[in-house]
Point group: C2
């Protein structure tokens, strides 16, 4: 590790905020919609709870919260560890894979969510990248060719940030097979699973009964609470004890006010809440993509998550170009090169603003 | 790591709760007193905050919270990282020490807070124990004799759990000198610094201007909120960038509701709140020790923190004996052997109950 690696998105959000003009912020993946009503209710109830309830929760998470998660995912509660967001859930899976396997290689898909790559390096692992196709989908044959007994883990994210690709049943089955063949751990980060725009496109890795699968998730996106840091991992029985120990020795336990709020929201939030947000995002994506079409831009229409990658001729996806776009077009996105070489010509736009269509029109005017 | 190491105190709390008789619970270090009023106020205000405020806080903690901490500790804000409790603050310091130093040894004091020992093993370090004296104080000469260029870190806790010892200026100065001589990191865990019963006995390691000192702390005990998980580290400038990166890659960020509540409480809580709890604990300790005197027990009167270690002839500090004490005397403590060999004949009692005096009388009757 070297200098403190301030994430590019913090820099760009600041840059956009300090710009001399109106800027549509499409940088971060921070939801701009309301959390469930029951989330605020649950937190409000906790405010006046007994002081006992302000003390350490169980290290592995509130028992009721684990039970709710286990019931929804159809797994044994003992396999569920509540974590400090999906970030810690992924960290625990990757650290355990490297410790329990002889190999030190972690297979990642390029373009990559930058945390996976940097976390691999922090843990002393060796990242190997498998290139996705133009639409962001991973070719299982390419993963199979790259995997070996040196492979400790294969980390995938579907629906995918940044490409919006969704891996279906067949791809997931092949990834599970590859993990089993090399006794690696398939870490399936499914944090965008509430945001899928093609019916039945998505399959959770939990659909496969395998001792080589860890599924990670969080309430950060589905409940619009990225700052609460409540996530979870569903880990294989053979690894979960070690993972609980690591979680305990790193964090002792998660933060209890957030866990209580999420527990109440999980129980009380109707399906319509999630459906409404999904529909709203789909409309934003439609409008944004239509304006990109009008601008003649190349882009990938996401099957899931809430990012659109677009490419403008002669305008590579670097930090400098992203800053120029803020200054000259009034639109802030993320440089594609932050996600790896394969998207160095692209820009990523998060549709976490009601002004997505306006932003696309600005892009059309600027590049048109 | 082996099987999930469920902390002994969880087991004993359950055992006590399931006992067939009334039991005074002196097992955990969970405060039983009220948090500051402003803590609940701060959390209540957050409940109705804008949705922006529900998203990722800065990875290193809310800027205002870091500023408040920095001002109180008299350090540059850039050195402060807000963590998931003192647990994570210690984890980050120990991991960084092992990574940045050639040696893999971590010096610990016996009796030891078990997390330090297990965390050292998790990180692949080699723990070396320096025995404390009968009162729980560490002899700097013994630390000097044990330290070498293999020493990556020296981890101390003052006021101390479990002994109640408080290390004064002279001891701290010597520990800083030893760390500097071997370019090791002195990790000074000061989480009980609001609970010192001898005026001027305590000195923070921040009193010494050294690039080899990390001070860790939390609001868990001082605000009676062990479940909120808000702590911090003040790290040397030369290490803080790497530590921030590690924190980000493990946890992304801390939980924001808890940080907002603590920020408000830190600003608005009068000194009387802390003084009142300190006095109350001192009275409980007085009463408990007086009853132990009456029982003819050997014990260590704590200079700080809120634990009393006691020894009863022919009654070693094992888990089995602790369970027997629950069943036969109606008092639940912690076995001394959970803290290392040197206290294998002792039991630890936490005065986190208004019934401390009653418990001591039960012990007097049982052993008398």
């Amino acid at each position: 590790m070297g200098d403190y690696d301030r994430p590019v998105f913090f820099h760009l959000m600041e840059y956009a905020a300090n710009a001399d003009r109106d800027v549509v912020d499409m940088v971060s993946g921070n939801p701009d919609w309301e959390p469930p009503e029951a989330l605020r209710e649950g937190l409000a109830a906790y405010v006046s709870a007994d002081v006992d309830t302000f003390q350490y929760p169980p290290s592995e998470g509130l028992a009721e919260l684990r039970a709710e998660i286990a019931a929804r995912r159809g797994v044994d509660r003992e396999r569920v560890v509540v974590t400090n967001g999906a970030g810690e859930a992924n960290y625990l899976a990757m650290a355990e894979a490297l410790e329990s396997q002889p190999g030190d290689e972690i297979l990642l898909v390029d373009p990559v969510y930058p945390y996976y790559h940097k976390r691999t390096e922090l843990l002393g692992g060796t990242p190997t990248f498998v290139a996705a196709d133009a639409d962001g989908r991973v070719d299982p044959a390419a993963v199979r060719a790259a995997a070996s007994d040196e492979t400790a883990a294969i980390v995938v994210n579907s629906p995918n940030n940044p490409t919006g690709a969704v891996y279906g049943r067949e791809t997931k089955q092949e990834l599970v097979d590859i993990a089993e063949r090399h006794d690696a751990l398939l870490v399936s980060d499914e944090v965008y699973d509430h945001f899928v725009y093609e019916p039945d496109a998505f399959e959770s890795a939990l659909a496969f009964d395998s001792a080589n699968v860890a599924v990670t998730n969080a309430f950060s996106k589905s409940m619009a609470i990225t700052g609460f840091r409540v996530g979870y991992g569903v880990y294989p029985e053979r690894l979960v004890d070690d993972i609980r120990t690591r979680h305990m020795l790193v964090n002792v336990a998660g933060s209890r006010p957030a866990q209580h709020a999420v527990l109440h929201a999980l129980r009380e939030t109707p399906a319509e809440y999630y459906e409404r947000n999904r529909s709203m995002l789909e409309e934003r994506i439609d409008a944004f993509c239509a304006a990109l079409d009008a601008a003649g831009a190349e882009y990938t229409r996401p099957q899931g998550a809430f990012y659109v990658m677009a490419r403008f001729d002669g305008y590579p996806g670097t930090l400098a170009h992203t800053e120029r776009l803020i200054d000259e077009a009034g639109v802030a996105g993320m440089p594609g090169d932050a996600f790896g070489e394969s998207r160095a010509e692209w820009l990523r736009f998060a549709v976490v603003t009601p002004r997505a269509e306006e932003a696309a029109e600005r892009l059309a005017n600027y590049f048109g």
